[in-house]
């Protein structure tokens, strides 16, 4: 499944790239479901090989039927390099990607800046990801890993 990367604004152009007021990222539309709840609407999530796990904004919990965020397994959400941290709670969810799905323990945090991150545990265990940044716009291709 191949799809174009999506554009997003940047606060201000980086001094090294002064003519770039926006950037591209491999952002994939997925849906989540929890237990027997109906799935969420499509949500834009960042494919993020730097994230150990899949993480979603806690604002999705009500719609998913997660009554109490804090009933999940607690951890801390941290930035890339130390700095501030925020509480994150793991709940088992099903992630629907096009016609495929997988289950994983995903973190939910009120302090995540974006909708969601598709990380190594869960997403990269199930999909091979290729990013072609030589084209404009860049494209991303994911392939489901089917295990015997």
């Amino acid at each position: 499944m191949k799809f174009p990367c999506k554009v997003f604004p940047v606060k201000e152009p980086h001094p090294a790239f002064p003519n770039e007021p926006s950037s591209w990222a491999p952002i994939l539309n997925v849906r989540l479901s929890y237990r027997h709840s109906p799935p969420t609407k499509s949500i834009e999530c960042w494919i993020d090989s730097g994230s150990d796990v899949c993480i979603f904004h806690a604002g999705l919990c009500h719609s998913l039927g997660i009554r109490r965020l804090e009933d999940g397994v607690k951890d801390d959400l941290r930035g890339v390099i130390g700095g501030p941290k925020a509480p994150m709670y793991f709940h088992k969810v099903k992630i629907l990607v096009f016609a495929e799905f997988f289950e994983t323990m995903a973190g939910f945090s009120r302090d995540l800046a974006v909708t969601g991150l598709l990380g190594r545990r869960g997403f990269f265990e199930n999909f091979i990801v290729n990013i072609d940044a030589s084209s404009s716009p860049p494209s991303c291709e994911i392939e489901k890993i089917h295990r015997a």
Partner: protein, 66 residues
């Protein structure tokens, strides 16, 4: 939706809120303070299957918003 139109819609979105695009992602449908509010507004505007995205407090793109 062109990249320029998408950037314009995202920049105009209230910080820390949610944006709903049409299912084909060709139109901005609604803004909401919460996911649920954005979905409800989109449905009232005749879009039953919006595509939702969370807007950070600013676009400095750090993982944490605190």
């Amino acid at each position: 939706m062109s990249p320029e139109a998408r950037i314009k819609a995202l920049r105009a979105a209230p910080p820390d809120g949610w944006v709903a695009f049409s299912s084909d992602e060709e139109r901005l449908v609604a803004y909401g303070k919460t996911y649920d509010e954005a979905v409800t507004k989109a449905e009232k505007k005749g879009e039953p299957n919006p595509v939702l995205t969370k807007v950070p407090k600013d676009w400095s793109m750090q993982v944490l918003s605190i």
